[in-house]
């Protein structure tokens, strides 16, 4: 393999990894605060791409207005899912909430199929993102550079929000202990709802960029990326935002390199993440950055 080709694969891997990281953060935040997998997260991501599609194609709104609108709509959707599928079950056994989340995920998928049809739609990618630039002998889409930059900006914003603002402090408090946080005067429901909104917003950022990179959208497109990003979050250590980013990059770069170096295994691409997950869980069940927790009796 030549160096050029390797660099091309690496840049692809980094941009895929950035996308995984953005979505993985949504999982890790919800897990951190509720100790639950948000099974509907992948579908919220899918809905974001549909919002963008309708904004640009159906209503003809220019992309720089549509994209912020999509972020808001998706955040509202995430809060809605929380209100319907999670809040009524706050004191229920975990297994009930998991099933309810699976139901919500299913509902979103099937509703999209009914409303918008199961046929894949072309994502309207504005030209300034898809232009190709030549770097030496490597030709790369401009988007490949934008994606890590946008991811980085979102991450910095998120870290600032969590560490420096009052809302962020409330989120950290709730994730440590619901009861104590409530005693301290924190509105638990509002904080959890905000966490869902924030996670969904990041999923929307990821969704828009995913649509630009792989310009074909369909109702079940969120399932596999959703699972993979959850795996990324687990690999990095779930509940830990830095871990989610590391996990996302490991998964994204690993996947691209697997195909690049072992083209025979292309068919097994989707299995790679799961194999990695099982290996990690067997050797270090709490992930790379996760802390070991002992169960109190």
């Amino acid at each position: 393999m030549t160096l050029d080709l390797f660099l091309q694969h690496l840049s692809n891997g980094i941009s895929l990894g950035s996308l995984y990281a953005l979505i993985a953060i949504g999982y890790t935040m919800v897990y951190g605060i509720l100790r639950l997998i948000n099974f509907a997260h992948g579908d919220i991501f899918m809905m974001a791409t549909y919002f963008a599609f309708f904004g640009i194609v159906t209503f003809g709104i220019p992309w720089f207005i549509t994209f912020p609108l999509v972020l808001v709509l998706t955040a509202v959707l995430g809060m809605g899912v929380e209100a319907v599928a999670y809040r009524p079950l706050r004191d229920a056994p975990k297994i009930s909430v998991l099933i309810s989340a699976i139901g919500a995920s299913f509902f979103l998928e099937n509703l999209t199929i009914v409303l918008f049809g199961g046929v894949p739609k072309p994502f309207p990618a504005p030209k300034i993102f898809t232009d190709v630039v030549q770097v030496g002998t490597v030709s790369i889409q401009k988007l490949t550079f934008y994606i890590p930059v946008v991811t980085l900006i979102s991450l910095l914003g998120l870290v600032y929000l969590i560490n420096k603002t009052k809302t962020g402090m409330a989120m950290r408090a709730v994730s440590m202990d619901h009861e104590t946080a409530r005693v301290m005067g924190i509105n638990i429901n509002r904080t959890i709802s905000f966490t869902f909104g924030l996670g969904s917003l990041l999923a929307a950022v990821g969704g828009i960029m995913w649509g630009l990179k792989f310009p074909q959208i369909q109702p079940l497109m969120g399932v596999i990326p959703g699972l993979k990003c959850f795996i990324a979050a687990v690999i990095g250590g779930i509940g830990n935002i830095g871990g989610a980013v590391i996990g996302g990059f490991i998964l994204g770069i690993g996947e691209i390199m697997l195909i690049a170096f072992l083209p025979n295994l292309t068919g097994y691409r989707d299995a790679f993440a799961f194999v990695l997950l099982i290996l990690i869980l067997m050797s270090k069940p709490t992930g790379i950055l996760g802390e070991k927790t002992a169960e109190k009796v």
């Binding site: 975990k94 099933i99 299913f106 099937n110 199929i113 009914v114 299995a271 869980l281």
Partner: protein, 362 residues
Amino acid sequence: MAEHKKRNQILTAVSVLLLLGFITFAENYLDLYIVRILNVCAIYAILGMSMNLINGFTGLFSLGHAGFMAVGAYTTALLTMPPAVKQQIFYLAPLAKPLDQMNLAFPLALLAGGLLAALVGLLIAAPVLRLKGDYLAIATLGFAEIIRVVFTNTQTITNGALGLKGIPALTNLWWSFGTTAFTLVVLLSLINSSYGRALKAIREDEIAAEAMGINLAKHKTLSFVLGAFFAGIGGGLLGNLLGTIDPKMFSSMFTFNILLIVVLGGMGSLTGSIISAFIVTIANEVLRFLDESINLGFVVLQGKVGMRSVVFSAALMFVVLFYRHGLMGSKEFSWDRLLAGKFVRKLMGCFKKRLPEGGCDQ
């Protein structure tokens, strides 16, 4: 009490006889479409019970059922298909030897399917059962997904994405209902044994169970492998009922359908799973109109393809949100409870009182 026991035995014997009579009648006189639905009901009951053993009784939230079903379905199908048909459908790449010449009787093939699924379950159990809660869920889901991906790529064994066609239609009501009964008897006797009590103890509190001297790994593996075995058999019956199978069929969607059955019937109730398997499958057929357009004579309502799935996912959420314990909770069906029920008592009371004057007018 003894009197009740005798009464219950008689009632059970009578209902078994009635069921046998009904199967004979259905096999000979009923519409093929209805027979097929009844078969699917019974197969889903097997799948529901086997998933209930893992999820409801042992408290292991496993989402790998579709994988086990796929293993069972493919094994049984490949072992029962005549060699000529195999040669015909494997046109991209020939079937690996010695599978291409093998042909077993249906029960042996089913058993092989179940055993192979159990073996896969055993291999998976070692790494996966160290996990808990949602980690376990995602890892088992991942394993099912890996099985599906592998089946899509092993062209010489599973015919890849093309799937298998022309599987002999060997599943009939005798097989499906018989297997359901067999599954029920085996699982009921397991659950009422000391093993079953250990499983329930693990479900309630793992640490306490371990402190009482229960070997966690052994019991969890037992439940997982047995669940996989019956899932494999259910898959085998399903493949030989439908006639065609392909890897797409065994996606996580399928697992969630079974999960709906388990939750609706009640986690921890085998008879609940059977009842809800029938309800869900029949409802699925009745709701078919949602996918098609309805002609009411004066107006044609346009159905939308996929509407049925929307209703189904909403039903799953509805059950969990408002009806968390399902139809049966963790109780099993019993004649005592049925006869002590309000409705039946009223019926009996009015039957006894009014009989001399000539029936019940209520």
